[in-house]
Assembly symmetry: C2
């Protein structure tokens, strides 16, 4: 339990007059309990009064369960159980009655946006089809507090930073594997396989229960589309071109999102130039990061710098976004028109890029940067 975060939640509960808040998406449980569920079928109930209770399916491994919280088991995964979901619903309703909250509104994050955490087998959790309507009808009915609940994602705690540092240690291993595998003659897919393997093999190392990577490699002309989509093909890497890797790494539910571009041998002068412009734009933008600065202005610094070299129209995405509990965390972006200010504890990607079919190439370099009390700290500085 992260006490400061719990306090924020209690403020939300009290401000909205809620009886209970339900969390169940894997990243929500990492956020609130530092618990990455294996099945993705665990339900955490915070109530206005009393301690939180975690409902877990019978099939969940005991050794992944968090300590220091009351756990109630429902029979999902037991072939004898006629309808385990009904028992879960009844269990939550009973909890609300125990605490005299059966007529108070219930809330949960309605739609989280961004991208979800796949459970271990690459699957989405097999949730009941009627889950959302049933949860919304609990207690005194649903009251939407999503906007406030989603704000919890914006701030990384000291415990989160420790976990995210571990993620970046594993990411460093992935990046080393990329540099080693990205040689002329290798295929894009072969490089992806090497990078993802290196991360998978870290499973079971100290403090690492779950480690998985998703890499996308685009080489030469394929990287010209890197501002539009990431896609790995069977293309062979060639000497004299650039190769870009977009990479997501998840360790125990904590995510990094980085990009590296390498030059194989000597690349054409213009490609060398766009590489340097992107690198400098990134460093310039990062140097501006500190609490109180407008997020839009960080985007503008990088965009203007790239524009100065005549490549402004080749930048087709925002400069950055929140990251850490997901590959893309919810929250305001480093983007034109963004009206938010930077605050301490935010973890953001900074990822300028220049891509173009006329350039026959693409470059993106992406870091993950923590906003500290007086500036920033780059977590992806390997």
């Amino acid at each position: 339990m992260q006490s400061q975060r719990e306090q924020v939640l209690q403020e939300i509960i009290s401000r909205h007059g809620l009886g209970a808040v339900v969390f169940w998406r894997p990243d929500e449980l990492v956020l609130m309990l530092n618990y990455l569920p294996l099945w993705g079928l665990s339900f955490l109930i915070y109530t206005a009064t009393g301690e939180p209770v975690l409902f877990v399916p019978e099939a969940e491994p005991e050794d992944v369960l968090p300590a220091g919280i009351e756990i109630r088991v429902y029979p999902w995964g037991n072939i004898q159980a006629a309808d385990p979901w009904l028992q879960l619903y009844a269990g939550i309703a009973a909890l609300l009655r125990e605490r005299q909250l059966q007529n108070s509104p219930v809330s949960f994050i309605k739609h989280i946006g961004g991208t979800a955490l796949p459970v271990a087998g690459g699957e989405q959790p097999p949730l009941a089809p009627d889950l959302l309507p049933v949860l919304a009808a609990l207690g005194g009915g649903y009251k939407d507090a999503s906007a406030d609940l989603l704000k919890i994602y914006w701030y990384k705690s000291p415990v989160d930073i420790i976990c995210l540092t571990l993620t970046h240690q594993v990411t460093a291993i992935a990046v080393a594997a990329f540099y080693k595998a990205a040689i002329p003659g290798a295929t894009e897919a072969g490089v992806v396989a090497a990078v993802e393997s290196a991360v998978t093999c870290m499973t079971g190392e100290q403090h690492i229960r779950f480690a998985k990577a998703w890499a996308q490699v685009q080489s030469g002309f394929n990287a010209a589309f890197g501002g539009r989509y990431n896609r790995t093909t069977g293309r062979k890497l060639q000497d004299g071109e650039m190769v870009m890797m977009e990479l997501a790494v998840c360790v125990n539910g904590y995510w990094s999102d980085i990009t590296r571009t390498v030059r194989l041998g000597t690349v054409p002068t213009q490609q060398e130039e766009i590489y340097q412009v992107v690198k400098d734009a990134k460093e310039l933008a990062i140097a501006q990061l500190k609490p109180g600065v407008a997020m839009a202005s960080i985007d503008e610094v990088a965009r203007k710098y790239i524009d100065k070299y005549g490549y402004g129209n080749q930048v087709n995405h925002a400069l950055g976004h929140h990251v850490g509990f997901r590959y893309h965390d919810p929250g305001p972006a480093l983007a034109p028109g963004s009206r938010a200010l930077l605050e301490e504890g935010m973890l953001l990607t900074v990822e300028p890029g220049i891509y173009g079919q006329q350039l026959q190439a693409g470059v993106r370099i992406e870091e993950n940067v923590l906003i500290t009390a007086d500036g920033y700290r780059i977590l992806s500085c390997y």
Copy 2:
């Protein structure tokens, strides 16, 4: 376009008096168009009159788009576009008006159950938060035809079988990698890495645009939990024990779901016995497969056989499920109490298992079997 499937859809449209049916989940597009979207943000609209129209985001690669269908682009992925989703919604509404269907009900699959297809980067598609309510308010409002629409998944066409055969050719390569990597001293995670790599490396080979595997390896005592969950750890494989691999492979949107168990050297007598019992139970059950047979009775054949050897209480899951467009397709299972009959064109897993902490081991063997006019064909027979 698969004409027989389209005919089934038109019958559903006419039976429910629908104006249009919308498909957008990646597996729905594979099902209807043999099109695996890269972004997962493409929307296929079938209307009561006229030809279907596919709405695709501007960021979608042109070369993945299906031929022979009208395509309309909406500006998702263009940083200049203020709200690409509003343009998509307006585009669909305009299509309905063009065809005088603006007052007719619209349907789509409400909740598909089972497990979803991640897009290329391991992400879920970044759909608009208000997508479902907006789609449900199109035309004359939402009418639920999910039960009928989901039945389309139950039957694999000749074209699907060709695609699924390719998936199983890649799966055979993964299984060979498993047999090679599963040796004493290797870690479970290392074996997973080898298997997944072998599949990733097939990307770009003939007819293979997308190839990805999700393996779970449980060795020795860890496999005792294999009926409850699949989980890979850093445990080292040892001589004299059994190792189980659960494997999902997706090639171009077509899925296999198989399990193999290997014995490293000589295993204890009882473990050898449960291996043989599972193998025999699987073969016995498969031999019964043909159109008209009750699905529950297939489950019963395997369950009774295992029970005869005294291991009946170690079987904690159904014998099988539909597979092909997902890791787990919707549809009735080979399970106790299932009231459905087998029909030609169904593709099912057959996966008996015996697991137990007292046994200190677990065994599951899983095949993917197609129901043919007069019996069955094993696609996973490598």
